[in-house]
């Protein structure tokens, strides 16, 4: 039983083939040392996978958010060190709020800048994902109560390279420039929308990474022998991996809910997923590292690419706690209804 469409299975298969080919451990390591994985990005671009989920009239490959999330899950599973999520997020915001399609690789910057109605932009961001590898930086700027979405060429920024705990670029970008009128647009509600979509993308990436560390942990436990037998034969290890499997299964299911979410419910579905998956990260990474022993604590085993990203991603676009608060407000505030009635409204 597969809930994916034929088209989505095709996306998944193509993606997996490219990632297995071009996103092995050395690619991820090299990216952490500053080398943009151009072969990987190009292969994904050629097959249209960097533009999956974006409308064709906006330069995209067609499809919708659920198609894009399938790409993100695969990318997360392989720790693809590329701005696949950020490029999508920058582009989809431009599309939704009426800017033309960004040039080259786009990224999205989660901080606030200030802008004047005639386009004078200033400010700085502390951690722009993959800033250094982007050609267009999509960002949100404010003028009083008004919010604008801007798409700026990378050259206008001053760059200060930083990394997150996963070694992914999270750059400081500073700017003081005048934008042309086609580079910004008033965009009410764009901040909330960006946070929601950002969280959805991270959820998909995390669910892929969690699936991957479960697979790695199970394999490692069967390969690794101690006291004359594979450690997978010890009841204590089995019980831990079983616990982890439950958390991973719940995470995957929570992530899938975004893929099939109805428009009206998507805020709640994303909140639930980010909260549930975020909470699973601590339990699962702890067990994965416990099973992998000293080897997992090194950069020699690829486990670290997954776990360090999971630790970084769970805090991006809202930690589980922040989303839990929103969920709690939703379910308690609606005091007229009853809790169970509301829960059963969710598919």
């Amino acid at each position: 039983m597969n809930y994916l469409s034929e088209h989505q299975v095709l996306i998944q298969d193509t993606l997996n083939r490219i990632l297995e080919d071009l996103c092995q451990k050395q690619t991820v390591d090299a990216a952490e040392n500053g080398e943009f994985p151009s072969a990987l990005w190009e292969a994904l671009s050629e097959t249209g996978l960097t533009l999956t989920g974006l409308p064709e009239e906006h330069g995209g490959s067609g499809g919708d958010l659920s198609d894009a999330l399938i790409v993100m899950k695969g990318a997360g599973k392989f720790s693809a060190p590329i701005p696949i999520a950020e490029n999508f997020l920058g582009r989809v915001l431009c599309c939704e709020f009426g800017l033309s399609a960004p040039k080259g690789i786009a990224t999205f910057c989660d901080n606030f800048f200030s802008i004047t109605p005639d386009g004078q932009l200033r400010g700085s961001s502390s951690q722009t994902a993959f800033g250094r590898w982007s050609e267009t930086v999509v960002l949100i700027a404010e003028h009083g109560d008004e919010t604008y979405l801007c798409a700026c060429p990378f050259e206008v920024f001053e760059l200060n390279e930083k990394n997150n705990m996963a070694g992914e670029p999270r750059d400081m970008l500073s700017v003081e420039t005048k934008l042309t009128s086609d580079q910004f647009v008033q965009a009410d509600g764009v901040a909330r929308r960006a946070r929601l979509l950002g969280a959805a993308l991270r959820v998909a990436q995390m669910s892929g990474a969690l699936e991957s560390i479960l697979e790695m942990s199970v394999s490692y436990s069967m390969e690794r022998s101690q006291f004359g037998k594979p450690i997978s034969k010890f009841q204590a290890i089995q019980q831990q991996l079983a616990t982890m499997a439950g958390e991973v299964a719940a995470s995957i299911r929570a992530a899938q809910s975004i893929e099939i979410s109805k428009d009206l419910m998507i805020e709640l579905d994303v909140a639930i997923a980010k909260a549930r998956v975020g909470e699973a990260v601590g339990v699962c990474t702890d067990i994965a590292h416990q099973v992998h022993g000293a080897m997992g604590y090194t950069l020699e085993h690829t486990l670290n690419h997954r776990t360090r990203r999971l630790w970084a991603w769970r805090d991006e676009y809202g930690s589980e706690k922040e989303w839990q608060i929103e969920i709690g407000r939703f379910f308690s505030g609606n005091a007229s209804g009853n809790l169970w009635d509301q829960i059963t409204l969710l598919a």
Binding site: S232, Q239, E279, W323, I325, S332, N338, I343, T344
Partner: protein
């Protein structure tokens, strides 16, 4: 990816959702809103309620009409089940007969047994207990000692069963007993028999649980005569049937709704405004619940299409069980300034029942062992 981790999204079909409003209306009419409901399926019983439910056709609803059923889908049954549990309805009387005995008789029973018992079960008038564990067996069912010896026209049963819920009020018990002495093959020589709990040679001795309710018992058999036609399936086939019966104990909403009433009362406590921390607790627990429900509905979908999701069922039980134990422990630390008596009572009752949440359907260790097998570790 491993087998058994794929809880693919599945949506309850319209006919199942359509039933929901009916069930809610029925519950609103039949439950006393001032009483303290308990969504733990084992913590309330009312034969009056079971009969009313039977009248609506909501017991044995997946069974063929010829046996008093409604020929409904598992998905329609799912909706009825979750509505009953979420409302904290007193389902104790018919629960086992509906979820276990009926399916057992449909699969292994004789035509006479089906005709005799199923319609009465479906109408809410005939209640069954399960007799599996004995003192000192625990999860190791093959070590049971109750023995039925062949006599003219039937069997003479001696021994004892323990942890039989509602044996003091139910009509019958399906007991797993030895019909041959234990041999090298530990699983051979066992049979399932239907014991009339009103038989004068049956003694039911109540065992109080932590909240003082006598909801389970030890049942003693002292030369109880079991007629041949009360053996379920073939004599000696008991183990295979039980294994399959354990399968009925799937991964329904009873695996994660036991503590739900605490969440309901807690959300009411927060209705007048609360701190971020309190909202986050409600949000956290609700996110878990919704995800578990989605996983459980996925499994219901698999069951409906004839699959046998063994690992998935164990996963839901394991995650659900951890969740049910988490709920009262997290909520108790977040009490509001002037908690209502109803909230506090619900919470205490949940804490007192919590140790039982892990007992049914296999201990934590056994469940995790099933999952480990699904992962290929054993």
């Amino acid at each position: 990816m491993f087998q058994g981790l794929a809880f693919n999204p599945f949506t309850l079909p319209p006919e199942a959702e359509a039933l929901r409003a009916d069930v809610r209306k029925f519950l609103a009419d039949s439950l006393d809103p001032t009483s303290l409901p308990n969504s733990d399926f084992n913590a309330g019983d009312s034969s009056e309620f079971s009969k009313a439910l039977g009248k609506r056709g909501w017991i044995g609803m997946t069974w063929p009409k010829q046996y008093g059923g409604q020929d409904k889908s598992f998905l329609e049954r799912y909706v009825v089940t979750e509505e009953l549990l979420a409302a904290g309805a007193p389902v104790g009387c018919h629960w086992i007969a509906d979820r276990q005995t009926g399916p057992l008789l449909l699969k292994f029973g004789t035509e006479e047994q089906r005709k005799e018992f199923l319609p009465k079960i479906a109408s809410g008038n005939c209640y069954f207990s399960i007799g599996m564990s004995e003192p000192n067996t625990g999860s190791d069912l093959a070590s049971i000692k109750s023995m039925a010896k062949k006599v003219e026209g039937g069997w003479l049963l001696n021994g004892s069963k323990i942890w039989t819920s509602y044996a003091h009020t139910n009509h019958f018990m399906v007991a797993l007993v030895r019909t041959e002495l234990a041999s090298e093959n530990r699983h051979a020589g066992m049979s399932q028999v239907i014991v009339d709990l009103q038989d004068k040679n049956v003694t039911v001795s109540g065992i109080k649980n932590l909240s003082g309710e006598e909801d389970f018992n030890q049942v003693f058999f002292d030369d109880v005569f079991i007629p041949d036609d009360r053996v379920v399936g073939q004599p000696g086939n008991g183990w295979e049937q039980v294994i399959s019966e354990l399968g009925y104990e799937r991964s329904g909403p009873e695996r994660f709704l036991s503590a739900f009433r605490v969440l309901v009362e807690y959300s009411k406590e927060l209705a007048e405004g609360a701190s971020d921390d309190q909202y986050s607790i409600l949000g956290r627990l609700t996110a878990h619940l919704i995800t578990l429900r989605r996983m459980s509905i996925s499994v219901a979908g698999m069951l409906e299409s004839g699959e046998t999701p063994i690992t998935e069922a164990a996963l839901i039980k394991d995650v659900g069980n951890a969740y049910e134990r988490l709920v009262p422990e997290v909520v108790r630390l977040s009490q509001t300034r002037n908690p209502s008596a109803r909230f506090l009572d619900t919470l205490s009752q949940c804490i007192l029942h919590a140790p039982s949440f892990t007992l049914r359907g296999g201990t934590r260790e056994i469940l995790k062992g099933v999952i480990a097998r699904g992962l290929g570790l054993r």
